[in-house]
């Protein structure tokens, strides 16, 4: 080489120049910029006022809300109900333990160098549901039983979403593999299952689970309403998941299947070691999209009489002691959902980057 290594020219960005080029280039862009600026100025102020400056935060009853802004006292006062539903106060530590375990398992996933991160994640996926199964309903190990009809609020939302998410992924993977199976019976069953469940709205599934399913069960067999709803949600969700995973399976080049076969790997190893790791990685955005959709769809259990976080807020804003607090209530619900869904989304992006090992061959 004759030339010493050359660096690419740096592009200098100066704010004034940038603004002139991007915001005020021509009369049309200038009008747009000014218009948007006006909207921002006029809306941010009132919003800030409502949320913080004119809002009331402390107090114990509706009379504390004297300001023109939000009445956060309402959320404060009813927070216990929004989080635990009718779960008895003295037993709420059990739910708190689960919240803590959930945080311990998943918050470290955002910290790159956290020791034992992987094991915490594995515990979160496999151990947490088991602990929850004994801890939340109680009735064993000397724990007082709490009927599922008393569960509610954020805790119920998390139970529904967590079990729905964790159970639907493996079932969905099996259905996707089944749909691509060479065995006609397995393929047929998978296709029918997926197409039937996917074509039914979740509300219908929930109604069927709560009203019709008991009619088909033999005499004396009684499954709790919550369990029925969970089964319905999981199966419905797994049909969606199956189609997302199938998209990934189809995107894997045939050569990968052939190379794995040629190395003597049997069907399950071929899928488990070669095909699925690549296929699932490819459809992470789709899987996460489905998870987030499910998380929000759990609010539909309201119609079969289960009070999730939206249900608890909904039933409280119609309480005559608190008036005109609906906005605060719904903002709170929106915030709860946003925190979890945004968390899931961020984690998936991190995972995608981490698993990226370059292009396919």
């Amino acid at each position: 080489m004759t030339e010493p290594t050359m660096k690419a020219p740096r592009k200098a960005v100066r704010p004034v120049k940038w603004m002139r080029e991007n915001l005020f280039s021509g009369w049309f862009n200038t009008v747009l910029t000014l218009g948007v600026a006006y909207l921002l100025v006029t809306s941010v102020g009132p919003l800030l006022n409502w949320f913080f400056l004119d809002a009331n935060f402390v107090g114990s009853d509706p009379s504390a809300c004297t300001g023109a802004g939000a009445c956060w006292v309402f959320i404060n006062q009813r927070l216990n109900f929004f989080i635990y539903g009718f779960y008895p106060d003295e037993l709420q530590w059990r739910v708190n333990v689960m919240f803590l375990l959930l945080a311990v398992a998943f918050v470290p996933q955002f910290i790159e160098r956290f020791p034992g991160r992987k094991w915490l994640g594995i515990f979160g996926i496999f151990g947490l549901p088991v602990v929850g199964y004994f801890l939340i309903p109680g009735g064993s190990f000397g724990l007082e039983a709490v009927e599922s009809s008393k569960w509610g609020g954020l805790m119920l939302t998390l139970v529904l979403a967590y079990i729905g998410i964790i159970a639907s992924l493996p079932i969905g993977i099996l259905l996707a593999l089944g749909r691509r199976s060479e065995m006609p019976i397995i393929r047929g069953i998978s296709v029918v299952f997926i197409e039937v469940w996917r074509a039914v709205p979740l509300i219908t599934v929930l109604f069927m689970a709560s009203v019709m399913l008991p009619l088909f069960l033999p005499e004396g067999v009684n499954i709790e309403k919550l369990a029925r709803a969970l089964i319905g949600i999981t199966l419905w969700q797994s049909a969606y998941m199956a189609e997302v995973v199938r998209g990934g399976l189809q995107a894997i080049p045939r050569g990968q299947y052939e190379a794995a076969s040629a190395l003597g790997l049997g069907y399950w190893r071929r899928m488990g070691l070669v095909i699925l790791p690549q296929a699932l990685k490819m459809v992470i955005p789709g899987i996460v999209n489905t998870f987030i959709a499910l998380f929000k769809d759990t609010t539909l259990v309201l119609i079969i009489g289960l009070l999730d976080v939206l249900g608890t807020v909904q039933s409280t804003v119609s309480d005559p002691t608190w008036q005109n607090v609906a906005t605060e209530g719904y903002v709170f619900v929106a915030f709860c959902f946003w925190v979890f869904c945004f968390g899931i989304s961020r984690y998936s992006q991190k995972l995608e980057r981490k698993l990226d090992t370059g292009h396919k061959t």
Partner: protein, 269 residues
């Protein structure tokens, strides 16, 4: 199963090889009256071939002649509908266990390399020995490093396939197949997807491998390779074996007009 280079315990076949070579080595592949159809399209027509242990065969022919399909039938990546294929005394049928046992003994190298992009080079090489042969990880890794040295890329062991050049990827693919210690190696146009300057490094590895006594079946257009390495060159056209002969005879004195035409076309430019 031992190393193919030292394995002497193979039971000799009574039947002598049909190609006229002295029957000093036993047959490892026998194809008898094999036909294959894709729907109504008759791809392979009445193929008969016997390969002796340690024999190196190059299969050539115009595109669409069925040569790739043929070698893919030998490890059952493609199914044949009539006739018999017997590999290492195991007949290929619908029996999945028989197919898997044949695939353990037959390594394959593809035109598109087909390395597993989510695994490092070393993991690519160890996957099958660990899961199929149940080799302990340490041992599998040691063997893999040995073969990676043989294909001259031990320094790339911890990289991902996408970080390697085409030639390097293909050499990894060869090492990966060898890690299973197969008795037979199939090559399906191993240099066709490579940039010209990388063809040699792959052919060198294949020549070295041929020298070690491995039974090899190569579908390739590299006529230089065929001349140096092959014991026998097979010419296929239209799904049939048109001619087979030792390379010197094949190139200097082809008998069939179709072979002559093919050789004219590929050697003149």
């Amino acid at each position: 199963m031992g190393n193919p280079m030292t394995d002497q315990a193979y039971t000799p076949e009574k039947q002598a090889p049909t190609d006229g070579r002295a029957g000093k080595k036993p047959d490892i592949i026998r194809v008898e009256g094999m036909h294959k159809w894709y729907g109504d399209f008759h791809v392979l027509k009445d193929l008969n071939l016997t390969v002796a242990q340690g024999e190196r065969i190059v299969i050539c022919g115009p595109s669409g002649s069925g040569k790739s399909t043929f070698i893919r039938c030998i490890n059952r990546l493609e199914e044949h509908q009539q006739g018999k294929i017997i590999v290492d005394d195991v007949e290929l049928t619908d029996d999945v266990r028989q197919i898997d046992s044949v695939r353990r003994e037959v390594g394959m190298v593809f035109q598109q390399f087909n390395l597993f992009p989510h695994l490092t080079v070393l993991e690519n090489c160890c996957l099958s020995p660990i899961w199929v042969r149940k080799t302990p990880r340490k041992e599998a890794e040691a063997t893999a490093m040995e073969y990676l040295e043989r294909v001259k890329i031990p320094d790339q062991a911890n990289k991902y396939p996408s970080q390697l050049s085409g030639g390097q990827q293909q050499r990894v693919a060869i090492a990966r197949a060898l890690c299973m210690k197969p008795r037979i190696m199939l090559f399906d146009e191993p240099t066709s997807a490579l940039d010209p300057e990388m063809i040699k490094e792959v052919l060198d590895v294949m020549i070295e491998l041929a020298g070690s006594g491995m039974t090899m079946l190569c579908v390739t257009h590299e006529m230089g390779f065929a001349k140096t390495v092959a014991d026998r060159v097979i010419f296929m056209a239209g799904g049939e074996i048109v001619e087979q002969a030792p390379p010197h005879e094949f190139f200097s004195n082809p008998k069939e007009p179709r072979t002559q035409k093919f050789l004219e076309q590929i050697l003149q430019h």
